[in-house]
């Protein structure tokens, strides 16, 4: 029994060769569905009667071969391979009554439908392009301006102009140089100015938070900005030799003291 299942996984030599031949132009495929459609042609049957099981094996052989050759396959090829492996197991194993979801046959039928529909659209596209075309097979009037009596100017624009115009404005908006909302920003210059006036009184170690300006400690956005500016200003004053700064351990309060000269 188990042996039979392994038997199923064996891929015929011709299939391996076919997979190898396809790998040469893997870049030529427009995704896994396109590849599956090409593989299905090797079955030489009506697409409605295509063997999805065989197709799944062909596809998996293709992916195996690509891996062996260390070819980079796009992710969607591997997603499809995983799904087909799952489908194959559903088709081979007797249905598990406790399992939910669609049966292997239903999934296979849908895949066959997708392939048939894609092929149908390709055929339709070919028939469309084979039609007589304006400007190639049949022609419009060559001289449309015949009388010039009334001259009235009208303005025209296409939907594309309109959309591109709008896109232009909105894109420009996106890339407008980033301007911060000044209401909630306390600048380092402001902080410096404020601290210079205050440090004269800082004889003892004082927590930096007490230097925050009034009205900036409520809203978190404003508090963050004021804290950062005050801290930066403190470092600047330390550098200038006006202040000493310390922190006993990580996340401990930062303290400031006037430096004695």
């Amino acid at each position: 029994m188990a042996e039979n299942l392994f038997e199923e996984d064996k891929v015929s030599v011709s299939e391996r060769l076919a997979a190898e031949a396809l790998i040469v132009d893997v870049d030529g495929f427009e995704g896994p569905l396109d590849l599956l459609l090409t593989l299905s042609r090797t079955q030489k049957v009506d697409l409605r009667k295509v063997s999805v099981l065989q197709l799944a094996r062909q596809y998996l052989a293709f992916v195996e071969k690509a891996k062996a050759l260390r070819l980079e396959l796009a992710a969607d090829y591997l997603v499809m391979a995983a799904w087909l492996a799952f489908l194959k197991s559903r088709l081979l194993l007797p249905p598990d009554p406790s399992e939910e979801g669609p049966s292997g046959e239903e999934l296979a039928a849908h895949l066959a439908f997708q392939l048939e529909r894609l092929q149908a659209m390709r055929d339709a596209a070919a028939r469309l392009m084979a039609r007589d075309q304006l400007g190639r097979d049949f022609f419009a009037r060559g001289q449309s301006e015949m009388v010039t009596r009334v001259r009235k100017v009208t303005y025209s624009a296409t939907l594309l102009d309109l959309m591109q115009g709008y896109a232009r404005i909105r894109t420009r908006d996106d890339f407008r140089p980033f301007v911060m909302d000044r209401d909630s920003v306390f600048t380092m210059e402001q902080a410096l100015e404020r601290m210079r006036g205050l440090i004269g009184y800082a004889g003892d170690w004082t927590e930096i938070s007490s230097y925050l300006p009034e009205g900036w400690d409520g809203d978190p956005v404003r508090r963050r900005s004021a804290t950062a500016a005050t801290f930066a200003a403190s470092l600047e004053l330390v550098k200038e030799g006006h202040l000493e700064i310390r922190q006993s351990e990580m996340f401990a309060p930062i303290q400031l003291r006037k430096r004695d000269h």
Partner: protein, 200 residues
Amino acid sequence: MGEQERMVEAILFATAEPITVRELEARLPHGCDPAEALVHLRKRYEGRGVNVTRVGDAWAIRTAADLGFLMQKETVETRKLSRAAIETLAIIAYHQPVTRAEIEEIRGVSVSRGTVDQLLELEWIRFGRRKMTPGRPVTFVVTQDFLDHFGLESARDLPGLKELRAAGLLENRPPPGGDLPRDADDEDESAEGQSELFED
């Protein structure tokens, strides 16, 4: 030849663009019936070097297709469309109105940037009504220019449309269980679209 037929003939000859019956009505003296004149005119030009052709709601005079070989001088080199663009165009024509997700579902790959743009620029497709499904995605439909370019009277005359429809290949069939790869989330079950064309 009736006076109205003469007038319609003159107007159709004068311009390269198809003209709607409504436009004809607006340009002809009050009380004319361009629709009837068109029927006569069309018959009169059967088998001639130029024909009166219908393009959606509009009418135009075009040279007979079998004489294309005489027109090398007039032939306009059109930009070669990619295979992706041609397929996308066919899917829009046969499945319209169709969303981008539906096109991708049918082709099994995402529609690359520029493909839709190119078709819009050619004015072969335009935006249709939004779908009444979650996200209200925009749809694409083909234009009168498309019909004119491919010599189609209406989208119903697309080659093989009936057969495709009968075979169920224009249906938007949801995947069972919805877990197929490349399954678009905003898919809807309604298989409207080109099928609507046959209902009215």
